[in-house]
Amino acid sequence: MKLQNLTVIFIIIILPVVLLVSFYISTGLRTIKYQSLYDSGLLTAMQDAIYAFEQNTTNDSYSNNAETKRNILKASINAFEKQLANTCNIPSYRSQEIEEYIPAIVFGMYDGFYMYAPSELYNQATGKNEYKHGLKNYVYYSEEIDEDKGIVIKYSLDNYVSVSGEFNGTYQSREGYLIDLSKTNSNGTSYAGVPIDSSDTAAINYYKEAYSFTNWFLNTAQMGSKNPAFKINSSNDPEDENSLFTQHKREVMRNKIENVLNSSISAYSERTWKNNYKMPRLSENDWQKIYSNISMIAFFQGKNIGFTKYNGYCVLNSTNNNEYVNPNLIYFIDSQNPKVYHDIRCPYPYKIGNLTGYKVGSFSRKKVETTDAAGTTTTSYEYEHDALACYNCVNGSHLNATQTVYEYVRSSTTDINDKKAYFTALGRERYNTIKLLNQ
């Protein structure tokens, strides 16, 4: 055979191979492109949803009402779906089409979680069962301790618990903060050897009521005998992230979320033929986010991106809301310079006058709508504490990075005025927070 013939045969063989490889590479590139596009789109959608949640809870004075809270969460979901639909080039008026790819959204709240997921419903018009997304009932972070006596404990993100069941022959239901009794007293005037500001009634009441509740929890309810994690003492301080109580509480929270999510996603996956939905394994870092703050977890699965189908999730925290007092996000105003607020660890020489601390949400702008007798509504904006964040605290350049807030306020070298301001603020803010557990 001549060289020319061999050349033609070679080219005829190699040309389809080149075309196939080219197609394979371009599809691979498309897969990567869409994967990164959906990753960033999911994150942006989550940011929008969290922002909507924060703004709506801050600006709505009834946000602690359970029904209002559901409306606020639905609005957040709406913001999330619209943004995600935009990423997927679905027009906003058809944004609900994106729900097909959302097997579940979880809102981790202060003492439980809401889940937005599909449920099977009977459609009378078509006479068929179909799936429709909806906000499910609130699930508490609860655990049954004694089946015979019906003893149930409900946990929260911090040391607040609710206990109900039969104690000493009578049914009782109590809720309150668990505290290390050796650190405070029945009058609530000190904590960890630091005096609490006596003019702050809410702070004093917090420590007083926490002492009383913990006393009941340990001595009347005898909870310590039911589980070693409930033996609250100096080596098992509920404020400590590494304490047995906190570890146990987190296991319960994780188990609860995983079980509810798994069963919902599996049921949806079994009954739909379009996608095989699976619950991804959340990383330890993501679980830490869920344990430590109000959070939102969204799953986005099944969108075709070339060779494969997209399977992603995102966990995002809300740090600026009225739901939860995060001990790491309490900021302080100096009476001599009330226009700037600081982290307690800020070494900037601002500590001239008296320090007063508030939760971070207190520094946000709030929308106030007033309607006069003629029915005219006027919108104005106001600040609970009109101060700006300290530049050094925001960029973190001057903060003592070797110590967390928890370590700093418990360190023997920390100024007692810092400690007093911190524990007073923490007590007051916690005392003034409305909880669903006692509604």
Binding site: T7, L15, A52, Q55, S76, I77, K82, Q83, T379
Partner: protein
Amino acid sequence: MGDSLITIVAIFLAATLMFVFPLVAISEMNDNEAQSMLQAYTTEYVDSIRSAGKITKEMDDAFVQRIATIGGNSYEREYEVQIPDTNPGKKSENQQIGDTTYYGEYTSQVEGQLKSGNGVYTLIPGAKVTVTVRNTNTTISQMLKSVLYGITGNQAYVISAQASGMVTAIGY
């Protein structure tokens, strides 16, 4: 005669394989790179608008100049701003961000604001801003594809990027 024909066919195929396909591949790669850069720049720009709560003439000019350097192409950018309608005369009660009635303003209105007065288009928290960028010229890859696949008429955009998000600050 037979040998000459097969030689011509071989030369033609070899030329296609050695020159045309690599050229198409390189030009497509160039478009892909431009696409990635355009998406990154657009996302960055939208993020800056969201956190600033406004669009200024300086921001817009800087963005237009920045994207003009990508891949030797020319681009047009379009704005779409969805503003929450909080007109008390309509329906303001119980409206939550995310569940609000929105009205839209588009490129011409944004540009009008940027060209007049202080050159600032102010946004409010909860508004949704979308920036779309597309190429306006015909890229080499488009030209080659037109020749290879015999496409005539209007060209589709091959490089386009879109980014959007909710405004989180007030730009006063």
